[in-house]
């Protein structure tokens, strides 16, 4: 039997004016198990807390009920005070007689009666309370960053700067991501390579950072502070340590007809390749889909030519097992496939290109050496049409995206401006629905494109692109001039919507991190916790969470790093003790709870149980990881056998409250 003390707060006149606090205290004093009762003006004051602590000591209380304001205000205060006096803080319950009683009622009799009932319910609950202690778990002081684009690079650098080890897993042969393919960056127009490649080198040279390029996350187990991850290192058929990156093999390989993905297929590379000159790590990779040696066993040119002896045709995928305290998702984005937008003739004419392709053909390291040339015939285009919002802002019934891709307005302004600057004799048209340029110096940038560079911005949309001879006839509306235009363009550039990388969805499943319908990772809170996933220990950096430009990505990446550092700084994690637990004797291992758990906190174990006839039997039972469980209680209701229960809000406790109220 508990020894319970009841403390009724006046809250000055806030409670006492409408509730007869003395009557409440006396009435509750008669409840079974209550050995002490008191009313006081301000329970939350120093004096009030001392009263609680004294009563605990003097009357050997095992639990307390404070009738006062909302538990959202002072539950923590009273629990802390009780703990100092030697009573487990979870033995204190609050009866909310201010916000949910005295403030909403005028009739004193009614309010007093209700306060007594609320007090009774709290007492009934305390009777069934048990001391709870928060579990502790150690923290592995190492972070994993999945994705080596600018988001992953920035997060990794910031974490490493704080003194923690970081591993970057990148599925491509080099880190750098989309930013490495971009020519210039808005709104300052500095060259992307000039600001990115030093960071890539920094990553490579940082002692705290390891890069696993050409690798993928294969399996994730564990929970916040204690993840155990298996990383698949795909066979690149080149020894990373021996390869010096001299590039001789990439010049001599006889298989020349491989579409170069770094240039989006606008030119060709060899079967053994280094994606670009500043690649990190600067190591060659053999493409097994094209390598003659790997396919037929007849060639071996690269192996003969490599003085370092780095070529290894027998290399196999290998696996690395590593422990991490935190995981950062930085899987980034891709432009959508445009094969469903053939009214723009993307698949019918090589001169209809995406904006990312346009970046490559204006990039000095691109297929045209930075000269703007049409892919079809290598001539200078004299009239260029940019089409915005291709696949963005749709109603969701088609193949497009419902959201605004956010970056297109600015990069299109950049493309238009740069074209006009370099080739003033080129006419540039931009078709827009809205020009969206919120951001520091962004709108000024767009206006400069119009006012200083004379780019024709036309409010309207392109309806059809008709390749005819060497021209692209662009049929479009000009809504402001109420005209339908027919422009004989030489090049059409489509601002394709961006979408999360395809690898994100399976990764989210592995991490039990939630995603929205567009496959963007969801945040723990859209405003207040924007860089964390609801799953503890999983953090979000860059476009995997939503469309972002580079400045925004970098700020988010650093914010994400700050959160990771905050976690890794701690030696131990204290959990919330109000978590679910399963009664193994009742559990029948049906997996229902596992399916409703949004955090992946429930796993199954085969355990041996002693049967009544003294034989041993192995049964499959649920087991809750208290470090991962957030205590929502979904499993407790889903459980068909009643084995699951929730500490702090157990079935019997809530039932007791119901009983007390309905008495």
């Amino acid at each position: 039997m508990q020894r319970i003390g009841v403390f009724v707060c006046w809250c000055g006149s806030n409670i006492a004016a409408t509730v007869d606090v003395k009557a409440v205290a006396e009435a509750l004093g008669k409840e079974p198990g209550v050995v002490y009762f008191e009313d006081y003006q301000y329970m939350c004051s120093e004096e009030g807390q001392t009263k609680l602590q004294n009563a605990i000591r003097d009357y050997k209380l095992t639990g307390a009920v404070v009738c006062s304001c909302s538990p959202r205000m002072h539950e923590a205060t009273f629990r802390k005070a009780a703990a100092k006096a030697g009573v487990n803080s979870f033995m204190v319950e609050i009866a909310n007689i201010r916000e949910q009683c005295s403030w909403i009622h005028k009739n004193k009799e009614e309010a007093t009666e209700k306060a007594i009932i609320l007090g009774r319910a709290a007492i009934a609950k305390v009777h069934l309370n048990a001391p709870l202690t928060a579990g502790e778990s150690p923290v592995t002081k190492r972070a994993l960053v999945i994705g080596g684009g600018i988001a992953g690079i920035q997060t990794a650098l910031d974490i490493a700067d704080a003194g923690f080890e970081v591993d970057i897993v990148e599925k491509k042969p080099t880190i750098g991501g989309k930013m490495s393919q971009i020519d210039k960056t808005f709104p300052t127009l500095d060259c992307a390579a000039c600001i990115l490649t030093p960071k890539m080198v920094e990553v490579a040279q940082n002692e705290k950072i390891r890069i696993f390029s050409y690798s993928e996350v294969d399996k994730v187990q564990g929970f916040v502070g204690n993840f155990s991850v298996s990383i698949r290192r795909k066979a690149r058929f080149v020894d990373e340590v021996k390869c010096t990156g001299c590039g001789l093999c990439t010049e001599k390989c006889p298989q020349k007809k491989v579409p170069n993905e770094f240039n989006l297929g606008l030119d060709q590379r060899r079967a053994i390749y280094i994606p670009f000159a500043q690649a990190v790590p600067k190591v060659a990779t053999i493409d097994p889909d094209y390598c003659t040696m790997l396919k037929t066993g007849k060639c071996g040119v690269c192996s003969k030519i490599c003085t370092a002896g780095a070529i290894d045709y027998k290399q196999k995928d290998s696996f690395i097992e590593e422990k991490y305290g935190a995981i950062v998702v930085a899987t980034g984005f891709n432009p959508i496939e445009l094969n469903k937008y053939d009214e723009f003739a993307y698949s019918q004419s090589p001169d209809v290109i995406t904006s990312l392709e346009f970046e490559r053909i204006t990039n000095a390291a691109g297929p045209t050496g930075g000269t703007l040339l049409r892919p079809s015939d290598g001539e200078h285009p004299k009239k260029i049409v940019f089409v915005q919002c291709v696949g963005s802002r749709e109603d969701g019934s088609g193949c497009g995206k419902t959201y605004c891709s956010k970056i297109c307005c600015m990069y299109t302004a950049k493309h238009a401006m740069l074209t006009r600057e370099k080739y003033p004799d080129t006419e540039v048209y931009v078709f827009y629905i809205d020009v969206r340029t919120p951001g520091k110096s962004f709108d000024e940038f767009y206006r400069r494109a119009v006012e200083e560079y004379g780019v024709h911005y036309i409010k309207g949309m392109v309806g059809k692109v008709i390749p005819q001879g060497k021209k692209l006839m662009v049929r479009a509306s000009d809504l402001i001039d109420r005209k339908q235009l027919l422009i004989d363009a030489d090049l059409v550039v489509l601002a394709a919507a961006i979408e999360p990388d395809k690898s994100a969805r399976p990764l989210a499943t592995m991490l039990t991190a939630s995603m929205d319908t567009n496959d963007f990772f969801t945040e723990a809170h859209p405003k207040l916790r924007p860089v964390e996933s609801p799953t503890a220990g999983i953090f979000l950096s860059g476009c995997c969470q939503g469309p972002k430009d580079i400045p925004e990505t970098v700020s988010q990446a650093s914010a994400c790093a700050a959160k990771v550092i905050g976690l890794l700084c701690r030696d131990k994690l204290t959990g919330n003790p109000c978590v679910a637990h399963s009664d193994e004797l009742m559990c029948n291992g049906c997996s229902t709870c596992e399916k409703v758990c949004p955090y992946g906190a429930i796993t199954y174990q085969d355990k041996e149980f002693r049967m009544p006839d003294r034989t041993m039997r192995t049964r499959r039972v649920a087991s809750v990881n208290p470090a991962v469980c957030q205590g929502c209680g979904a499993c407790t209701v889903a459980c068909p056998s009643g084995a699951m229960d929730l500490h702090g809000f157990s079935n019997s406790q809530i039932m007791a409250e119901v009983d007390a109220i309905c008495k």
Binding site: Q348, K464, I466, P467
Partner: protein, 258 residues
């Protein structure tokens, strides 16, 4: 294989020879087209407004006739195909329409758009197969550069027609290649020819059909084929180009050596 067949008004009168050639081609490919009894004109174009019930009834009757034979219903004209397929879709998805139609016609059991409607081209692609056609070709049209003209009715609305990719269709191109000719890439192939404006305002049709054929010519076509008698008429009469326009079955007839 035996299929139910809905010839439609134009192929029954003005374009009789197209109908005859289509039947002969089908037979050569091992298919018997059995005309459904007492068919009525589909109305030429699908009535878009949801409260137009009576104007869709003839299509419902045709669908039901094919359903009772338990055979797919083949159409040769794109317009009929469009009306039949969309009416069938309405029967399947629009409860009010289905109810009213069934009550008016006194159907028991209720007809809810069961049965398949396919265009002659779909029949060639899905039921016969272009490989079979390629094998059956006696006079391959080698060296010919043929442009496939789809028009609007075959493709749109794509959600209902489910015929091919509405912006980048391939079925007629595949058909052309199966006959041994080269298909021309051009993008006016799914733009309107001017359609029923032929009656009232020939100027519009001249402009529409003119720009269609100009694009085909510029892209190097020596022949244009269509799958709709009205497109055929408009392009031939108002296209304003020295470019032969023929029905796709005529080409098939020629290639099969009939």
């Amino acid at each position: 294989m035996v299929f139910s067949y809905y010839p439609g008004c134009t192929l029954r009168t003005r374009a009789k020879e197209l109908d005859e050639k289509a039947r002969k081609c089908a037979e050569a490919l091992g298919i018997t087209l059995e005309e459904i009894p007492d068919w009525q004109c589909c109305g030429g174009c699908y009535p878009v407004a949801s409260d137009e019930i009576a104007t869709r009834l003839s299509a419902v009757r045709a669908l039901m006739a094919a359903k009772s034979e338990e055979r797919p219903l083949v159409t040769l004209c794109s317009a009929c195909h469009n009306v039949l397929k969309r009416t069938r879709h309405d029967l399947q998805t629009d409860e009010t329409f289905r109810d009213r139609v069934n009550r008016y016609m006194g159907n028991d059991p209720v007809y809810a758009g069961e049965g398949e409607v396919i265009h002659f081209l779909e029949m060639l692609r899905d039921k016969v197969g272009f490989d079979t056609i390629r094998a059956a070709v006696k006079n391959p049209l080698t060296g010919r550069r043929i442009a496939a003209y789809y028009g609007c009715l075959l493709l749109r609305p794509s959600g209902v027609m489910a015929f091919d990719d509405p912006e980048n269709p391939t079925v007629i191109e595949d058909f052309i290649r199966a006959l041994g000719a080269e298909s021309v890439a051009w993008s006016m192939r799914n733009e309107c020819c001017g359609s029923y404006m032929a009656l009232e305002d020939k100027g519009i049709v001249e402009r529409k059909s003119g720009s269609v054929l100009a694009n085909a010519k510029a892209q190097g076509a020596d022949t244009v084929i269509t799958a709709c008698p009205l497109c055929l008429y408009n392009l031939q009469k108002f296209g304003g180009q020295d470019l032969p326009v023929v029905y796709f079955t005529e080409l098939l007839y020629e290639a099969l050596g009939l």
